[in-house]
Each structure stands twice: as C-alpha cells, then as structure tokens.
C-alpha cells in the first residue's frame, strides 16, 4: 500500500491539565473520505486542527505526505480547511474570497481569473463573483468556502462540521454534492461531524472518537455491524446490549450468563482481542436483528413483555421490557411480525448477527447515551 497522505503517530494533546486527545494513531490514505465522528468535546476538531497546523501536538508526530510537519506553519502546509462557520472574509466579495489563496501566492491575474471562474462553475455559483458575502444564503456561503479552500489544489481538504449551520434539507443535498465533488476531484477529505448519519452516508472510513480516544476506525459497514466498543455500538445507530459473563464455550459458540438468562454469541465475533470463560462481556445486537416470537424458540431466548409499538413510516419499532427492567428495541419492516403491547414474548437472534464486546470500563452505556444527546 502507498504511504498514507496524513499520518498521526502517538499524538497527545493537552490543554493545561485537560487531556483532549489521547494516543491518537491515524493513517489517512490518499483519495479517501475519512470522517472523524464523535460527540462535541471528544477531541475531533482538535485532531483536525493538528493536521491543519493551528494546534501543535503536545507529543507525537503528524506527517503530511510523509513529511513531519511540526515546524510547518498553517500557511506552509499543503492542506486547506473549510471552517465551521465558513469564515468568509466580510470585506471582500465572492470572487476575491475565492481568489485569496492565489493572490497570496502572487499568481498572475489572468490565471487567477481563469481558476476562480472554474471554481465558481465547480460549486455552481457562476455569475455570483461580484456578490457581497452578506448577500449570500447559508448554502451559497458554504459553496464559496469550499471553492476558496479548493482553489489552492490542496492534497487534503479538512472540513470542520461544514454543514452544521444548514437546515436539514439543504444538509442532505450538500452531503451528496460534497461526496460527488470528492469523487470527482479525487482529493482526500477529512471530515469532522457529530452526526452519525452524515458520517455513514458520506465516508469511506469513519474514525469514531470519544473523550479524546479513537474507539474504532473502519468502513461505515464495519462500524455499524461490528462495533468494537459499547460506545460505538450506542453512538452509531441503535443497539441492544446484554451484559454478562462468559460461562461456557463450545465449538466457537460462547454462552454468556446474564441477569435475564443465558444468551449466545460467536467467539469469532469478539471485537477486541480474545475472550475466555469468566470474562465479562456485552452482547450487542442491532434492533433489526432481534427476533421476536410468542413461542419459546429453540436454542436460547430472553423473556420479555412488549411495552410499545410505534409506527415510524418505513418501519415499525417495538420496545420490550426484559426481566431486569431494561428496555430492548426491536425494528421490523412488517407490522404483522410484531405482537401487540402487553404480550409475553421471547427474544433471540442469529448468532452471526451478534457481536461480543469485552468489558471496557471507560465508557458506560449511560455516558454514551448522554453524549449522543448532546451531540
């Protein structure tokens, strides 16, 4: 594999006594769309700013194109940034904003004009060059910010929650446009967001961060189907978790004793390291993989009482309460599959659909939920 375009090795960042980025190791491949995903305050923006040069790591090394950039000022780095609130220059019109990077480099006027025109076309703002920034809408400002950052032909484009200020509909539209733009230009995008849906939609790979730690790096599919930690399981999509201790293992099938009875999972679906009998683990199942039936199925099952049945359009959600009082979410496309509230039911799943997460103490279910709400 070619050398990564950006690599961070053992990077630590302290603000005073605040440890905001912890032992960050991250390799970003050329041409990929990588998203740093996490709740606010998890250190994702700081990580981004260490790549752009506005923060220096307290320890560790950041390399861009294989070169240590510690001594390089932001203006010497071959990366450009799209800022959270666009950060457009209010004293200049659209044209001058976009041309800024080239003017700084004293590019000949004719070339500036040609490249700015090109850029305006790329972001579909032809004819807007003379407009003042104050006359532009949020979406248009966003495009100007992107054009301004791209005109320098950066190796890497850093985007810090660029769609945060837009409304839902515009956001969805811009997500698709950004992804298209990235494919067309084949530039590496490093994208920061707290919106898991946005991350899943756009990214080639996602790095999920929490409290300064990268919890997992992987493709959207990997992250969704094989969450490595409880935090990831809870932050990305919905999940049902059963905590317990491994009581037995046979033929690669783990039996896990929980408060609500024995459940099962595959040993090969263990997310971190290997596990053995007596290890505390959580079994994580996505709501759409939970099977619900009024009759006790073969193998293992968990008893529950259906509490709510909610119609949300494209699917039906059901909430069932298990014996220890926890609520389990079940999703189904077919309403007929789901018993009515009040029914006594049995919950189970296919072994391949469950992942086994070894107990990790940093992030508990509660904090993950809270962080998710904040994010």
């Amino acid at each position: 594999m070619a050398q990564p375009i950006v690599s961070m090795t053992n990077v630590e960042k302290w603000y005073g006594s605040n440890h905001v980025v912890k032992n960050c190791n991250l390799n970003i491949e050329e041409g990929e769309f990588l998203t740093l995903l996490g709740p606010s305050g998890c250190g994702k923006t700081t990580t981004l700013r260490m790549i752009s040069g506005f923060e220096l790591p307290s320890e560790g090394m950041v390399k861009v194109e294989g070169e240590n950039v510690e001594k390089k000022e932001p203006y010497d780095r071959s990366v450009n940034t799209v800022f959270q609130n666009y950060a457009l220059f209010p004293n200049m019109n659209v044209y001058d904003n976009i041309a800024y990077g080239l003017k700084v480099k004293k590019v000949p006027k004719a070339e500036i004009k040609e490249r700015v025109t090109q850029m305006l076309k790329l972001v579909q703002l032809e004819g807007f060059g003379k407009r003042r920034i104050t006359q532009m809408s949020g979406g248009q400002k966003q495009r100007v910010a992107i054009a301004r950052a791209l005109i320098n032909r950066p190796k890497v484009l850093l985007l810090d929650e660029p769609l945060g200020a837009l409304d839902m509909k515009l956001r969805k539209q811009m997500q698709i446009e950004l992804k298209r733009l990235q494919r067309k230009l084949e530039i590496t995008f490093v994208y920061v967001t707290h919106d898991q849906e946005e991350a899943l939609t756009m990214s080639d790979r996602i790095a999920v961060m929490s409290a300064g730690v990268i919890e997992q790096i992987g493709t959207p599919k990997e992250i969704y189907l094989k969450p490595r930690t409880r935090f990831v399981a809870n932050f990305i999509g919905e999940s049902d978790l059963f905590d317990g201790i491994i009581t037995a293992e046979s033929d690669g099938v783990l039996s896990i004793g929980t408060e609500v009875g024995t459940v099962k999972g595959l040993k090969e679906n263990t997310t971190i390291g290997s596990v053995k009998v007596n290890d505390p683990v959580s079994v994580c199942v996505r709501p759409e993989h939970v099977k619900i039936s009024t009759e006790k199925p073969e193998g293992f099952s968990v008893q529950a009482v259906v509490k709510d049945k909610i119609f949300v359009g494209n699917l039906i959600k059901e909430i069932a309460v298990i014996n220890n009082g926890n609520e389990i979410k079940i999703n189904s496309i077919n309403a007929a599959d789901l018993p009515e509230p009040g029914s006594h039911v049995y919950l189970s799943w296919d072994l391949k659909d469950a992942v086994v997460i070894p107990e990790r103490s940093e992030i508990t279910l509660d904090t993950a939920d809270k962080l998710k709400e904040v994010g």
């Binding site: 630590e12 307290s58 320890e59 000022e73 509660d366």
Partner: protein, 314 residues
Amino acid sequence: MSDISVKAQTVVPDAKKVTAGEKKVKHGRKQSIRATISNIIMCGPMTIWSVLFILIPVVMLVFMSFMTKGLLGKIVYKFTLVNYTDIFKPVYFNVVKESLIIALWTTLLTVLLGYPLGMVMSKLKKKTTGVITILMMLPLWVSGLVILYSFVIMLNNSGTINSFLMNIGLIKKPLQLLYNNFSVTIGMVYMFLPFAVLPMYSSIEKLDPSLIEASKDLGANPVTTFFKVTLPLTSPGIFAGVILTFIPCIGYYMVTDMLGGGTSMLVGNLIYRQFTISRNWPFGAALSVVLSLIILLMVVIYTKLGGDLDDLAS
C-alpha cells in the same frame, strides 16, 4: 453517576503514566516559534509601554508620597506618614471637602441635564444621533480651554448676561456670577456634559422597549415605570456618566483657575501647587494617591454594578 466516576478512575493505567502526564501539563501548551515571535512583536510595545510609563510611575508616586520634604523643595528619602496626616489639616482638608462638594454638584447637574438628553437622543434616528453627538463634542475637540474662556466674557460684571439683565431692567446692580463656585460648576458641567451623555444614551438605547411596554401593560404609570424599570436598568450608563464627570472634575485645575479667580481651590489646584509654587513633591504625591484611591473605589463599585470600563472611552 458515582459508579461511572469510580470506573473512570480505575482506568488510569498505572502510577508511572500519571506522573508522565503531569510532567506534560507543564509544557503542554505548545505553539510554534513564529507564533510566539508574532505575539511578542504585537504585545511587546504596549506591554513595555504600560510597565515603563504607567506601572513604574504609579509605584514611584506611591513611594514619593511616603518621603520627607527637605529644604527648598529637596526630597529627603526618609519614610514618613506626615504627608498623609497633613491632608487632615483644616487648610487642606477644606480644599478636599470643597472639591468633593463641587465635584458632586457638577456630577449631579451633569446627570440631571444629560440623562434626559440621552433619552431624547435614543428616540431619534441613528444617523441624527450621530450628527448631534459630533455637534456636542466639536467645541471641546477644537479647544475646550479657549471656549471655556467665553464664560468669563459672559459672566463678568459687565458681561453679556449682566448687561442683558440690566438692559431689560430686571436687576439694577450686576450680579456676581464670576469667580465663585457657581461659575466653576457651570464651567465644569459645560466641559463634561457631552462626554457623560454618551454612555447614558447608549444604555438607554440598548434598553429593551418590550420591558417598558410590559411594565405599562402590568398597570404601572409612566412615572412608576421610569423609576422601577428604566432607571435601574440604565444605571450602569448613569454611573459611567458619573465617573466620566467626577474623575476629571477633581483634577481640572484650569477651570478653577479661569472661572474661580483664585477664590476657590480644588484638590487639582492643590496638587498643581505642590509641584510648582510650594515645591512639596511628597505632599503632592500623597494627595494624588488619596485622590486616585477615592476614584478607584468608585470604579470598583461601577464594575461591581455591572459596568464596563470600555464604556468610559466612548
């Protein structure tokens, strides 16, 4: 919740790493050398200036106020409290008292005249207010001192006002308008009113009109509304106006010189004398220190009330 924090603590791997972490804290905030140089270039001149020409002089002033006066204006570097106890001698204490009285009258008049002016200005268009502000400041910008002298012309025994009053037969003998506390106060009000109006105007202008409407809506009459809502909410502006009048008022010795005719003397004049005629620098320094302390106290109250020092430079 407590469960979480306990768990979080158990994560900390081992003692060795913790100390390493603490070591990092000390040089944790790293920035590039060029950023540091840029900061030094930008902050350096102002910082050096503040130290050399504000902090050191103030320290020297305090130091001087504890020194002993020698013969012929010489300074003997021997610690004494005499300069401070001297202030309480009746000769000097009367000056302090009179200064405070004149300053208080001036401040009161300035606020009473200026606040309604601020209210009127807040009702006008922004542009009109701007023009009026410039018009009010212009005479002082050009030369407050020369224009202040017009008061001598207007107020003297054969001056504009007296001749007018005698011509219409209201008075037989000219009124003594000049060279007393009256003329000094008038001059002071003239000098400080335009400055004091601005913070009062801006605090009235910032006032949320819905609050006044809410008060009226709740049945309060305009007078109650004014005293219960408008006045308390604009008090930082009023206090800024008070400070802007009071501070210079005590120190502006030339107004007293010009319009007081030597009959009234303020602390400012007294200090000025110590450095010119009397040549008693330690006493002058002690007076300055006391004057500053009185005013700093007011400023502290002002900031505690929620006032912003930046408003004093509007």
